[in-house]
C-alpha cells in the first residue's frame, strides 16, 4: 500500500497546532495551576501565601465532612446512572415496538432534552417546593411529609429524581437508534428459536446494544459526577445546610464561595485523579467485554 505523506514534514504539526494550543491553554495550564496551588494556602487577593505541602490533601481526606460528601457522591452517581439508563432503555424498547403514531411518541419522550439544564432544574425545584410544590403535595397524600432542604433523605431523593428526569431523553435517543440498527434478520432468526420476548431481548438484542450502553454508561457517570452541579445548586438555593452535596459542588463552595483556593484546588486534584482512574478502569476492564462487531 502506498503511504500518503505531507511534502513538508512540518505541515502535520502546523495543522495540529490550533488544537494543541486550545488543549494547552484551556486544559493543561489550568490543571497545572490547580496542582501548584493545591500545595499552598493563599490569600485570595494574592498578597501572601504559605507552602503547606500535602496539608490541603490531608485536611480534605481526613475530614469527616469530606468523607460523607464522597459517600453521597458515590450513591448519587450510582443511582442517577442506573435509573437514567434503565428507564431510558425501557422506554426505548417500548417506543421501538410502537408502530402507529411512533414519531409522536418519540418526540414526546425526547422533549425534555430540549430544555436548558438550569431551566429544567428550576422546573424541578418548583415541582418539589416546600410551600407550592405539587409533587410535595402528592407525596403528602401518600403520607410522606417531604421536606426538601430540611431532611437529608428527601433532598437527596429530589436531586436524584430531577437529575434522572433530565438525563433520560438523551439516553433514550441513543438507545432507540441503537435498537433500530439491530438487523431484522437476526431478530427474525431469534424469533424462530425462542418464543419468550424477554429472553430474546436479554440474549440477543441486549448484547448487540452493548457498545451503545457502554458509551452511555461513561457519559452518564460523567454527567452525574460533574454536570448535575446546576441542579444541586438550584435545589439547595445556594445554602447547603444539612443537605447532601457532591464533591464537585464542594469544590465550588470552598473555592468560589469561601475563597479557600488551596483547599479547593486540592479537592479538584483529587477529582482529577479519580476521573483518571475511572477512565482506565472503564476502558481496561469493561470495554474488553463489549463487542463492537
Amino acid at each position: 500500500m502506498k503511504r500518503v505523506q505531507f511534502a513538508d514534514p512540518l505541515m502535520p504539526y502546523m495543522l495540529l497546532l490550533p488544537q494543541l494550543l486550545i488543549v494547552g491553554i484551556f486544559f493543561i495550564w489550568p490543571a497545572a495551576e490547580a496542582v501548584r496551588s493545591s500545595f499552598y494556602l493563599e490569600d485570595p487577593f494574592g498578597f501572601g501565601s504559605t507552602f503547606v505541602g500535602f496539608d490541603n490533601f490531608t485536611d480534605a481526606l481526613t475530614s469527616s465532612d469530606y468523607a460523607s460528601t464522597a459517600r453521597f457522591t458515590l450513591v448519587f452517581t450510582a443511582l442517577t446512572t442506573f435509573f437514567s439508563l434503565s428507564i431510558a432503555l425501557l422506554l426505548a424498547v417500548k417506543a421501538d415496538s410502537v408502530i402507529r403514531g411512533a414519531s409522536t411518541y418519540r418526540t414526546l419522550l425526547m422533549w425534555v432534552y430540549a430544555i436548558a439544564p438550569p431551566v429544567a432544574g428550576l422546573i424541578g425545584v418548583m415541582l418539589f417546593d416546600q410551600h407550592i410544590g405539587p409533587l410535595k403535595e402528592f407525596a403528602g397524600l401518600l403520607g410522606w411529609d417531604m421536606q426538601i432542604g430540611v431532611n437529608y433523605f428527601d433532598t437527596a431523593f429530589c436531586m436524584i429524581v430531577i437529575a434522572v428526569w433530565k438525563q433520560v431523553p438523551i439516553n433514550f435517543i441513543f438507545f432507540l437508534s441503537g435498537l433500530q440498527s439491530v438487523p431484522k434478520s437476526i431478530q427474525e432468526a431469534a424469533a424462530i428459536d425462542c418464543r419468550s420476548g424477554a429472553r430474546r431481548f436479554w440474549t440477543v438484542t441486549f448484547p448487540l446494544l452493548a457498545p451503545t450502553g457502554f458509551f452511555l454508561l461513561i457519559i452518564n457517570i460523567t454527567y452525574a459526577l460533574f454536570e448535575t452541579f446546576g441542579i444541586i445548586d438550584l435545589v439547595l438555593k445556594g445554602e447547603p445546610g444539612n443537605n447532601p452535596i457532591t464533591l464537585v459542588y464542594k469544590v465550588f463552595l470552598d473555592g468560589f464561595r469561601g475563597n479557600d483556593l488551596g483547599g479547593s484546588s486540592a479537592q479538584s486534584v483529587i477529582l482529577m485523579l479519580l476521573v483518571f482512574v475511572l477512565t482506565i478502569v472503564q476502558f481496561r476492564l469493561i470495554e474488553r467485554r463489549v463487542h463492537y462487531n
Binding site: P44, G46, F47, H131, I148, P240, G241, N242, N259, D260
Partner: protein, 436 residues
C-alpha cells in the same frame, strides 16, 4: 425630513455631545455591588443622584450577583489589575478583604486624605467598629446595615391574648397559647447570624479569642462550645418537637414565607426586611427586640450589624480616590442615609441621619422601623462589637450543617457544638496561613 425633526435631532445631538464631553472631563469611578431587585434600583437611584449633584466625578454602579459572587469577582479583578474603585463586601467576607494587607484603602484614611470630615463617633454604636481594625480605625464604610429583630403578627398575638416576648422565658410561656390559637409560634431565617453570632452579642458572651478575632488572625479560636448557647439550642430543639418553632431549611425566604402567609405568628429576621414585609403582608405586624435569656443576662445587650460595607480598593489614582471619598461623604450624608433607610428598611448608619428620620416623623408613622436602630444603639459592651474570623463563609456552612442535625435529632447540642468548634478552629488555623 421636516424642519421640526431636523431641529430636534440637532438639539438632541448637541445635548449628547455636551453630556459626553462633560463625562469625559469627569473622573470615572466604578462600584461593584450585590444589591438585586428593589435594592438595586435604589442603588442606581443614589448613583444617578450623585452624578447629577456634581460634575467632577462620574460613578457607575455594576450589579455583580450575590454577596459571594461580588467578592469573588472583585478578587479576580484585583488579581488582574482591573479592580473597581468600590467593592461591596458582606459581613462574613470582611476578614478575607481586611486580612489581605494592601487590598483596600481604609475608609478613614481615604476620607482624611481627601480632606473630608470624618469622626467615627458620628456613626451609631452598633455600626461603628464592625468593619474596623484592632485599633478602631474604620476600614470598610458601613453601607447596608441591619440587625436581627423579632417581627410579630399583631392579629395572631391578640387572638391568643398574649403580647410580644421580651425574653425567651416569656416566649416559652406564650408559645402554647399561640399553638392553641392555631399558629406556629416562631420561625427564623438565618440560624448562624441570629442564633449564634447575635446570640453571643445579645448576651455579651465572647465569640472568639483575640478580642473576638479583631486583634488579628494569629491564634484566633472560636468559642462556641459554651453552656449558654448549647442550652439555647437544646431548648430550640424542644420547641421544634413541641410545635413552638418550625424550621424550613437554610433558605432565607423559605422561613419568611410562612410568616407572610399568616401561618407563623412571630418571625426572627432582619431589620432590613421591613420594607419587603410592608408590601407582602395583608395583616398588621410590628416588631420588637431580639429576645434574650434572663437566666443568662439580666438585661439584653446590644447586637451588631449584618449586611455589607463598601471597600475602596487600592491601586487607584488619587483623583479617583478623591472621587470615592467624595461619594462616601455623599452616601453618609443624613439626607441620603434617610432616603436609603426609608426605601429599604436598612438602618441609617449615622446619628445625624437617625435624628433626621426622627424629626421627620418616620417612626411615628412606622414604629417598627425604629426597632433595629434602637437595638443597635443600646450601650456597647465587651463582646458587642462583632467578630472577625477568616474563612467565615465555611464556618457558617459548618454551623448550618450542624444546626440542621440538631433540629433533625441526629445530634445533641453538645455533640454539634463540639464539632463546630473543632472544624471552625481547623479552618481558622488554615486561614492564618493564607496571609503567609
Amino acid at each position: 425630513m421636516s424642519y421640526r425633526t431636523t431641529a430636534a435631532r440637532i438639539v438632541a445631538f448637541a445635548a449628547l455631545a455636551t453630556t459626553s464631553t462633560a463625562s469625559f472631563a469627569a473622573t470615572e469611578i466604578s462600584w461593584w455591588h450585590a444589591m438585586g431587585g428593589r435594592l438595586g434600583e435604589v442603588v442606581n437611584e443614589i448613583s444617578a443622584n450623585y452624578n447629577e449633584a456634581q460634575d467632577a466625578c462620574q460613578l457607575t454602579p455594576v450589579f455583580k450577583g450575590t454577596y459571594e459572587e461580588a467578592l469573588t469577582a472583585g478578587i479576580a479583578a484585583f488579581r488582574a489589575g482591573e479592580q473597581p474603585n468600590i467593592l461591596q463586601v458582606f459581613d462574613a467576607g470582611s476578614a478575607t478583604i481586611i486580612g489581605a494587607k494592601g487590598a483596600v484603602v481604609p475608609a478613614e484614611d481615604l476620607l482624611n486624605e481627601a480632606g473630608a470630615e470624618f469622626n467615627i463617633e458620628d456613626y451609631i454604636p452598633g455600626v461603628r467598629y464592625f468593619y474596623a481594625d484592632a485599633n478602631g480605625k474604620m476600614i470598610g464604610m458601613p453601607f447596608n446595615s441591619s440587625t436581627p429583630i423579632l417581627y410579630y403578627n399583631e392579629e395572631a398575638l391578640e387572638k391568643a391574648g398574649v403580647s410580644a416576648p421580651k425574653t425567651w422565658e416569656e416566649f416559652e410561656q406564650i408559645a402554647p397559647k399561640l399553638v392553641e390559637a392555631g399558629y406556629i409560634p416562631l420561625s427564623q431565617s438565618h440560624t448562624p447570624w441570629i442564633f449564634a453570632e447575635n446570640f453571643m452579642s445579645r448576651h455579651n458572651l465572647p465569640f472568639a479569642t483575640n478580642n473576638n478575632g479583631y486583634d488579628g488572625a494569629e491564634g484566633t479560636q472560636i468559642l462556641v462550645d459554651q453552656d449558654a448557647i448549647k442550652m439555647h439550642f437544646t431548648k430550640v430543639k424542644e420547641w421544634l418537637d413541641n410545635g413552638y418553632y418550625n424550621f424550613y431549611g437554610s433558605g432565607w425566604a423559605d422561613n419568611q414565607k410562612p410568616f407572610q402567609e399568616g401561618d407563623v405568628a412571630m418571625w426572627l429576621g432582619s431589620s432590613g426586611s421591613f420594607g419587603g414585609l410592608m408590601q407582602s403582608t395583608d395583616f398588621d405586624f410590628s416588631a420588637t427586640f431580639l429576645p434574650y435569656w434572663e437566666s443568662v443576662i439580666d438585661e439584653g445587650a446590644q447586637t451588631f450589624i449584618g449586611g455589607a460595607a463598601l471597600f475602596a480598593m487600592s491601586g487607584k489614582s488619587s483623583a479617583e480616590n478623591n472621587c470615592t471619598a467624595d461619594f462616601f461623604s455623599y452616601l453618609t450624608s443624613p439626607e441620603i442615609q434617610y432616603m436609603w433607610h426609608k426605601e429599604t428598611g436598612y438602618v441609617p448608619v449615622t446619628n445625624a441621619a437617625y435624628d433626621l428620620a426622627k424629626e421627620d416623623g418616620h417612626y411615628d408613622r412606622f414604629p417598627a422601623a425604629e426597632v433595629g436602630i434602637q437595638q443597635l444603639s443600646l450601650p456597647s459592651q465587651d463582646n458587642t462589637k462583632g467578630y472577625r474570623m477568616g474563612f467565615y463563609v465555611q464556618i457558617r456552612d459548618v454551623m448550618r450543617r450542624e444546626f440542621g442535625q440538631i433540629f433533625s435529632g441526629e445530634k445533641t447540642a453538645d455533640e454539634a457544638f463540639k464539632t463546630i468548634e473543632e472544624e471552625a478552629n481547623k479552618l481558622l488555623a488554615r486561614f492564618e496561613k493564607t496571609s503567609g
